[in-house]
Symmetry: C2
Subunit: 177 residues, 2 copies
């Protein structure tokens, strides 16, 4: 899953986006583009708006729902170098511009009809990291919530890591070096 | 929240434990002590059993439910230096022994009656990191699930960071140096 090697002092190697329709449970007012309403403020300071379902997957690897303009100032703090987009839809122009102006490379692997593509991908990574299925599913369900699917869990269960065993892939052992 | 500074090449600075009673939704067979049933195996290799609700909070900072013997081999891979326990109950002897034999320091701040103490603590950290409340609650609810409490969310909402603004606390900017 690591697409590039980072350099000392900079941060992540990849970010995973997913347009899981969890979006609908989010307070959109918080996600309004800053040029219209401005980002949320407290004590006279702007607050960060991480994207829905944002989390750290491992050193330098993050996951989240599909970001919008309100999230860009937060994403900038991550010093991303690559973004992996799993949606088949055309990548929005505003997001393109954000990537371009921050020197971030986009890798888009559009997967049709998926709902928890990022969750499945992270689950496969956890198998490479030798997590038991109970823990893989615990994490998957935390992000998929009411939209947990048996078919996704079967996909992760049968995902065969035997051909990938030559990859050194321990949790938290991928150093930013 | 950082209790010590790490040294190059080793990993986390702190781990947060919480005995959130989410434990009851876990397949206990996977959590059986390895000396009785052995850890889960696949392809002749032992699998890791991360504790319930395990996640990476930030560089070198992790959270989880209260771990048991089945989780020790996974926890060993994290090269922890400190554990922060938020439960008031006496720390179990087996866990003590694990910490002792791995040179991990225990910091116990027993908080009576709490259910999502770790979630509240992480929420307060996110406020220090200038996350908007929508994102703080999104993360809190992901871990608290059906046990989400309005009182916890109010605690995080009114948590006053104004006296802590001298602390440099940006997400993902705490380098392991």
């Amino acid at each position: 899953m690591k697409l590039e090697t980072g350099k000392q002092g900079t941060s992540p190697e990849m970010e995973e986006y997913d347009d899981e329709d969890d979006d609908e449970v989010i307070d959109k007012s918080c996600y309004s583009p800053p040029m219209i309403f401005g980002p949320p403020r407290e004590g006279g300071e702007d607050l960060f708006v991480p994207p829905l379902n944002f989390a750290m997957v491992d050193n330098g690897v993050f996951r989240s729902g599909f970001p919008d303009v309100a999230n860009f100032s937060f994403l900038q703090t991550l010093k991303l170098r690559s973004v992996l987009c799993l949606c088949p839809e055309p990548y929005p122009e505003a997001n393109w511009e954000f990537l371009r102006s921050n020197g971030i490379r986009l890798f888009q692997f559009g997967i049709e009809g998926g709902k928890h593509r990022t969750g499945c991908l992270v689950g496969c990574l956890r198998k490479l990291q030798r997590w038991c299925l109970t823990s893989v599913f615990d994490e998957y369900q935390r992000f998929a919530a009411a939209k947990t699917r048996v078919s996704d869990q079967r996909f992760m269960e049968v995902f065969d890591i035997s051909s990938l065993k030559h990859l050194p892939m321990s949790f938290s052992c991928s150093r930013i070096a």
